[in-house]
Symmetry: C2
Subunit: 752 residues, 2 copies
């Protein structure tokens, strides 16, 4: 499915072995929990057993006296919120919440909320010390569910939280942080005139990002405040910035070294442990390691928000969508911030709809503070929209792909953020899906087939890269973007392509925060695009230097030298290879051949995906089995096609888990009842068929090789695709995720 | 003594606390032997007990079978010399020697020469395993001394060594690697007409650099060949390059992280352990640490060459030098390379002499291969020249400073390398010495006063630096130059000066070889000059970006914006601080504010030093005590005066040790008899008076702040200054170093 008009690349588009692969399969790679520093202590975090409780007092004296304990910290060791507010000014809100999430101050806001931490000579001693910390709790009424939290009589988490975005300023605090509205045209009139209207309430559960590697870090603070942190995360600069801000330190006093990351999916774009580890190390003068257990990961990190979505969507008799009215409520967890803007923006972005009103509510409750998860905010609302489109197609007797093709956005159409859509290839994706053998394959008994589309705007943002030429002509590429999905390989490939060298001549390194310029997190599907752009620009600067060096050697003008096949070329001259030029670098006044590029691209291109799913519903257990799955996606240009396919497959699988299996379960006491991989059931390889992938390459003109972000879009369609398949297989619309056997059974039974 | 015409710097010239100081005094700094990697093994090296022996066979089977042993390597595990020669071509000589010095192949060439190495789960097991390695040696006759090694019937170390630089190609191998001749005018005629001639033979012993920290490294090789090395050295890029070349690896496959260095003085500008550790790690797949004992440091690293110098120098009756004839022989140790070019170049560089002939011989013998040591090659020959000048002054009844002033080189005079001298300030130094109270202070009984001058050409070379602005406006400076003498502080100071910020706002980091562009070793007095130049250029580029950002914010031309006091300024605008501009970086298309600069300055400025020394000779023991010492030096511009003074004092002390105490002692079997700090006596603080320092600041126009290298020059004069003082105190010329009590006694006794 490659675009045959693509230039004849030599490296881009091939599938070399990833440079970190051998380390990872041989167990040598150093992930967060693997790193050790000389003289390191082991920390442990005491967490609230109550979902909502006032902390009257904490007595750490017995813990501090336990032999082997070297430091104890509580919220009292953090800078006060007042001092942070003063230092940060108006924009302090998010950081204050992150600070309070790292360590409770006056209240524990969810079961698992950190209230104290200990560093000791062994993990066993540290855990023993936790039991010696006496916390005087005043247990408060708690609230978990979204609608319960929005109720007028709900226990209020934050005395200072007044709903933003309302027409009038509220006179009392509530659990509703924000109302966000996006609207156009006359929705009610258009719906009234529609030939078909689908409506209903759709719900999704909070789900965890489910990365295999728990959060972990080592911090080491010197007597003069200089601080090193080694951590696994999606962005070492994010850790540096948040830790410095929360602790009131100059950013340049902190150096963060990224370790290998065992999955993040958005859940490692904030800090939990790092400021705590820094405070512990500052107190005792030794490096301190903090590692979450799996139980802690579930109770105190992530999850993605759950949601309740009400919608009405109408179409004319030809299937043209005329209006949509959506009201969604996202569960932010203990602190505000459930991506309501992104939820609204992505909800209808795939389609031309003249009249719409999208209202979003950001709601806090006594759950862990929600975190980003692939395409944050998009999957639940798109699940509702794509379910509704399926109903409209059924009402009008249309092929569901044809319905979507009739309404699909084209380049230049108005986009959800006020700017026109860029080079969106939704039509191409839908046509490829329709042409795929899967779409027309006969359905076995009890099988249903669903289709759904999804949109993610993608993102650019700040990245820095350096490219340097060693004395033997081999190349090192340095970025500040942690390698999650194979970016070391794709960065090396882009550099090799520009330099005209084989992939093997280029090594890509992820550097620490001191050793490379500021780079934003690996997330939002920005890395191959933005960091890749920096790598290409730095590589081009290196080529310019190489040409100038060759010109100087030959005594001709720079412009007379071209660069081809890893060598300088000029009329009447023997080509000068990069190796030959590098060997002479010391003889030039310029010396070292290296270049740095910083980028902050503001022009980027959305990712579009269309998924087809076949499911079988077991007639006795009502368990749903995914029988066949095809993911089609507009990928711009696949630098390393295997990793693009991996993103598509991984997104599909995580979306399938969200649709069928996953979800936090709370007991009556507001405690998480399934905080482990045994009870929190994520799909594994044996649960699923091979996910077929179809890459549509419509290049992004804002990137030198045409790259579009590919990591978020594939998690957007699966919830709808699976739900549509199950609904068609079961003969009844399934509106609540996960579609666990009991729910499927209840829906079928209710239908009768 | 500051140049009062210096611009009004705010940071340059102050004396802030060094950023690595707290770590170093609290024991937290990680030096070579401190670093540990997860799963690390401990290595040990088997060394030849014979100074010269053919290795018939090595049986490592018993060692390999010892429980806990994971890898054993011998010379057979290295690439063959033939393959290296093929890969490297004509310029392979030095690297082949370094490779053979890391591990003996067919012959052990000195006592301590590595013949095998083991990696095991503990150091004890590794050392036990060494005892199980059976080496079948054929002991050969050995030779240690320079003249013995040059004798026609001497045992020859290398069958392939044919003297270079002779008029005719020799027909058989010898221990003389090179003859180097530098000549001008008619020496014999000029000497014949001289009013005063001083002549004689002067000798110096091989001395060790005497760094406190032994050589140490950890290497970790992955299954696909990617290699990490953590090591203490004067240059991580040097380790990367030499290790890759010796082992036939692509340079980009190796990443070297510099650890703190506990002294180098030139002795850590080559590899001993790193290629061995890499081979061990490659065999067992685990990280391997190798650390030398002090005994191994003495027997298998360094030393600086010993020398035998014959000279004749003549002056006319007014003290004008008319001719010099010098023939020196340097002891290179087991492999050629005793800095004969530098020795010749520095020998007469302080003075205008129309007629000269300098002949140097590079001689191998069964000692450890010599290594660089501050101002490599210069101190011994300058000791001879400055002793001769003292004799001429005595013969002519001239003040020894006046004699030197009469002949001192001035800027623009012909220099020793064919180029004219740059901004040399020898006259200023001599005048300052003459004006110093020390020079005219009365001499106590049995005291003598000596003076001597010294020259080092200094060096520029390749350096890279990056300067980046964090989100809060704090600054990180990154270089590839290990910090030996306080360069983190001086780099931060230069950046702070350019950026108009306080010193505390800037942190300087020494990065690994992947994270910064190529940078040569910290050595040759090049770092503050060349790396500093890169830091200044990168800082200036950052200022240009900051001005452009401010211009964009204000909507005016870049040129209308000036940068003062850490803020952008323009007519009619409130100044924009770096903090304010940094906070908006993400809103600009350029994003991150950072810049990289690479430099390779070919224009640099020599360092000149004049030292005055008072000594007292004990009438009974003939032990020499240094009673007073003053070091005057042309330092260009002192960025951090305390560290410049520290270089001057350290060089003086090391030179005093060379003059009075230090020297390898070999037993009849060719083994080092004093391989430890107890028997190899270096001066300690209690042995010496405070070294007084006088900085002469004559700026170097090739550096933005006027920096000249200051690390080498101060070790050049002390040998002559001390010897002249002792000779005047003893009433007899001392021509052999060290001037140990027995030698002083013998000289006085011979005089009668």
């Amino acid at each position: 499915m490659n675009d045959m008009s693509a230039p004849p690349y030599k490296v881009v588009g091939t599938r070399p072995v990833r440079p970190d692969g051998v380390d990872k399969v041989t167990g040598k790679a150093v992930f967060g929990p693997d790193f050790a520093a000389s003289g390191m202590l082991h920390g442990a975090v005491l967490r609230s057993p109550h979902p909502h409780a006032r902390i009257r007092a904490i007595d750490t004296s017995k813990a501090a006296a336990l032999p082997g304990v070297r430091a104890v910290v509580t919220g009292a060791d953090f800078p006060t919120l007042e001092s942070l507010t003063m230092a940060l000014g108006e924009s302090s809100g998010d950081v204050l919440d992150i600070a309070r999430n790292c360590m409770a101050l006056d209240k524990a806001l969810y079961e698992g909320h950190a209230v104290a931490a200990v560093a000791a000579t062994s993990t066993l001693i540290a855990r023993e010390a936790l039991q010696l910390i006496a916390v005087d709790y005043e247990v408060l009424p708690h609230v978990i569910g979204i609608e319960e939290a929005m109720a007028a009589d709900a226990p209020v988490l934050h005395d200072t939280l007044f709903t933003k975005g309302l027409d009038a300023t509220p006179d009392k605090p509530s659990n509703v942080a924000t109302r966000f509205v996006m609207a156009n045209g006359d929705v009610e009139s258009a719906l009234a005139g529609a030939a078909a209207v689908a409506s209903g309430r759709f719900t999704t559960a909070p789900v965890h990002q489910g990365y295999i590697e728990p959060h972990a870090c080592v911090a080491s603070v010197n007597a003069d405040g200089q601080t090193q942190i080694w951590a696994s995360s999606q962005g070492a600069f994010m850790i540096r910035s948040l830790t410095a801000t929360i602790l009131g330190m100059p950013i340049s006093d902190i150096r963060v070294t990224p370790l290998e990351i065992g999955g993040g999916f958005g859940g490692k774009t904030t800090v939990y442990l790092e400021p705590v580890a820094v405070l512990l190390s500052r107190k005792c003068g030794l490096p301190v390691r903090l590692v979450m257990t799996r139980d802690e990961v579930f109770r105190a990190s992530g999850p993605a928000p759950g949601s309740v979505v009400d919608l009405r969507i109408g179409a004319d008799k030809d299937g043209k969508l005329v209006a949509a009215d959506i009201e969604f409520r996202n569960s932010a967890g203990a602190f505000p911030g459930s991506s309501v803007h992104a939820t609204a923006m992505c909800s209808l972005a795939c389609y031309r709809i003249a009249n719409f009103r999208v209202t979003g509510w950001d709601v806090v409750s006594n759950m862990p503070s929600s975190a980003a998860y692939r395409a944050p905010g998009a999957p639940p609302v798109v699940f509702a929209v794509e379910s509704a489109l399926d109903e409209i197609a059924m009402q009008l007797g249309l092929d569901p792909i044809d319905l979507r093709l009739r309404n699909a956005v084209r380049p230049g159409d108005p986009g959800p953020m006020g700017m026109p859509h860029g080079p969106v290839a939704l039509v191409e994706c839908l046509e490829a899906a329709k042409a795929h053998p899967h779409w027309t394959a006969p359905l076995a008994p009890r099988h249903g087939r669903g289709v759904a589309a999804g949109f993610w705007p993608n993102y650019g943002g700040q990245s820095t890269a350096t490219v340097s030429v060693a004395e033997d002509g081999t190349i090192t590429v340095v970025t500040g973007s942690p390698d999650i999905g194979g970016s070391r390989a794709s960065m090396a490939m882009m550099a090799a392509e520009v330099l005209g060298l084989p992939y093997e001549a280029v090594r890509c390194i992820v550097a620490d925060t001191a050793s490379i310029g500021f780079s934003m997190v690996t997330g939002g599907s920005r890395t191959t695009f933005a960091t890749g752009k920096a790598v290409v620009e730095a590589s081009e600067a290196v080529v310019a230097t190489l040409r100038a060096r060759a010109a100087a050697i030959w005594g001709i003008e720079d412009d007379a030298v071209t660069w081809q096949g890893g060598a300088a070329q000029a009329a009447g001259q023997e080509p000068l290879t990069i190796k030959a030029i590098a060997a002479k670098a010391g003889q030039s006044a310029g010396g070292t051949i290296a270049a740095e590029a910083t980028v902050n691209p503001l022009d980027y291109a959305a990712g579009l995906a269309v998924h087809i799913c076949d499911t079988e519903v077991d007639p006795e257990t009502r368990q749903v089995r995914v029988a066949r799955y095809t993911a089609v996606q507009d990928v711009g240009r696949a630098i390393h096609p295997s990793y693009v396919e991996g993103q598509m497959q991984g997104g599909a699988v995580q979306g399938i888990g969200w649709a069928l299996n996953e979800g936090y379960v709370h007991d009556a006491g507001g405690r998480v009842a399934n905080a482990g991989f045994l009870d929190y059931r994520m799909p594994v390889a044996s649960d699923l068929p091979m996910i077929d992938t179809v890459m549509i390459e419509v290049p992004n003109p804002a990137h030198p090789f045409g790259v579009k972000g590919v990591g978020e879009a594939p998690i957007v369609p699966p919830l709808g695709a699976v739900a549509n398949a199950v609904s068609r297989a079961a003969g009844v619309r399934l509106r609540d995720l996960p579609m666990s056997p009991d729910r499927v059974h209840a829906a079928i039974a209710a239908k009768g």
